[in-house]
Amino acid sequence: MTESNVLLEIKDLSVEYLSDGKTVHAVNGVDLCLKRGRTLGLVGETGAGKTSICRSILRILPDVGAEITSGEILMEGKDLLHLKEEEMQKIRGKNISMIFQDPMTALNPVERVGDQIAEVIELHQEQGNHEDAVRRAKEMLEIVGIPGERYYDYPHQFSGGMKQRVVIAIALACSPQLLLADEPTTALDVTIQAQVLDLIEDLQKQYETSMLLVTHDMGVVAQVCDEVAVIYAGTIVEYGTKEQIFDHPSHPYTIGLFGAIPSMSEDEMWLHPIDGMPPDPTDLPAGCPFSPRCPYASEACRKDRIQPAVTPDGHMCRCIRIEQSKKGEH
C-alpha cells in the first residue's frame, strides 16, 4: 500500500467526557486508516464510541465537558487536531462532511430545504454568486431524486426518506473527499434504506469519495463496506477487510454479534445472546473491556491492555487467544 492511497489516518485517538464529576472513557486509543474511494465500516453497539470518533474528526465535540486526550487525525498528512478553527471551518462541509443519524432533527425546521443546501455551497464556492448556489442546490436535489421545484418546501413537508436525501444532498454538495455517515439509514424503513444506500453508493463512485460508515447493522456492512472495524467500549477489537471479518471473525465479541442476529436461513428455537451488559464507561475493567462477558476470559485477560495480534488470515484482533493458538500449533 502506497502512502498516497491513504486519505485519513487516525492514530491512538482517545476521547473523554466529564459527566457528574466522573470521567467517561468514550474512545480509548483508536487507530483507523481510510483509503481513497473506499468505505470503512465502524460497527458497534450503543455507547461504543462510534459517534465520538466522527465528531472528533470534524472537531464538533461539545465545547464543554469533552476532550480529546491523545492522538492524531491525519488527513493527507496534516493533523486536523492542530488546525486553527478558521482553517477547520474551510474543511467542514467541503473536504469532510457528515450525514447525521436522525434526518428529523438534522434539518432546520424553519428554513427552506433548498436554502439549507445552497448555504453550504455558497460558503465554500470560490467564485459565483447566490444564484449559482441556488442553481447548484436544485441540481443536488435532482441528483438525490427530489424534483428541483421542491427547493422552496420546508422539512415538515417531506417524508423521512426524503429528508435523509436532503441531508445527503447537503453532505455531498461540495463533493467532499471524506464522508462521515453516522447511521445514515437507521431511522428509515428497509425499502427506503435500500434506496438511500444505492444513492450513497452511486454518488460515492461518481465523486470518488471515501466513506466512514458508522452502523450497528451487519447487513448494511455486508452490502456497502470494503473494510470493517469492530468497536467495543471505545476500543477497536477487530479490524480487517470485509471478507476477513465475515468469513473468519476472530474476536469473541464479533463472533457473539454474528451469533445474536436471528438467522434468515436456519430455524432455531433459541437465539445466542451475549450474556451480560456492556461495561460502565466511567469504570472500565482493566485489561480487555469484553472480558466480563467473554466465555473464554482468563486471568491474563483482566490484567493489562490487550495488544493487537494478527490472525492467520492477516487481520487485526485484540485478543490474547490469537497468540495462544499460534503457540499451540508450534
Partner: protein
Amino acid sequence: MTQPLIEVRHLKKYFPVNGGTLHAVDDVSFTIEKGKTLGVVGESGCGKSTLGRTLIHLQESTDGQILLDGKDVTKVRKKELKAVREKMQIIFQDPYSSIDPRFSIDETIKEPLIVSGRYSRKEMVQRAEELMELVGIDERLRRAYPHELDGGRRQRVGIARALALEPDFIVCDEPVSALDVSIQAQVLNLLKKLQIERGLTYMFITHDMSVVRHISDDICVMYLGQMVEKCASKELFRNPLHPYTRALLSAIPSTDIHHRQERIRLKGEITSPVDPEPGCRFAARCPFAQEKCHAPQHQINASDGHFVTCCRVHEINA
C-alpha cells in the same frame, strides 16, 4: 379446527385529520390460535401499531368485530372492559417512555395488581418478586428507578408489568427494536420461554424481518392499513407472492457477502392514507401495476392458507 383465541373480522380504524379521514387500519381480518404468534410486519405508517392498540381497546375501533375466546368484545364498556384488559396486555416499543420515571421498579410492576383490586398488600409484594425473578431482573433493583436501568432491563420491566395479571394474549409492539442486537437476543429468548411455559398467545409487531421470521408461526404483511399477504412464517420467506412482500424481502441487507442479492428497486413515494383511492394502495410503487389494479382488490386464497390481496398474483407468479 380448535377455536382461535383471537379473531378479528373486517376491523377498521379511521382517524379524522385535517382535510379528510386517515384510513389507518382498513378491513383487516385474521385469527390467532392459542399459544401461537402472529407476526405483523410493515413499514412505518402502515397501521401495524394502530392495529395492535385497537385490538386491545386502547383505541375504539371504527368498524368490524374483535372476538376473544369466541366472545365478542368489540363494544365492551367499563367493568367488562377492565376484565377484558386483564386478558389482553401490551409491551410497548420504547422502554424509555413507556415506564413512569417517578415509579420505582416494583411500583411499576405492582400497578396492574393494585388496579385489579384482587391482591392484598402482602400478596402484591410476593407477586412482584415472582415477576421480577421470572423476567430476570435482580432483586436488588426492586427500589431502583427507570433512569438507573439500561434499555434491556427496562424492557424486562415492561414485560413483567404485562404479565402481572396472567393475561392470555399479549401485543408485543416492536419490543426489541430499541435494543442492541446482543440484548435483543436476550429479550427474544425470554419472550419465547414465557410463551412455552405459560401458553401465551402473541401478536408480534415489528419491521425487522429476521426477528419476525424467528418468532412467528404466521405472518401478516401490511401496507398502508391493508393486509396484503398472510401465511405461515416459513411459507412467506420461501414463497412470497405479493409484489410488496417480494420487494420488502429483497431490501433486507443480507449478511451473506459472497452472493450479492438482487434488490427489487422500488420507485416513487408512499401514497397518502388520507381518503385513499379504491384499489391497491401499492400500485403507485408496484412494478407490475396495471389498469385493473386501480379497482377494489379482494383477498385471494393462493394456496392452502396463503392469502394474498393482489389481482395479478397468478399472472406475476406464473
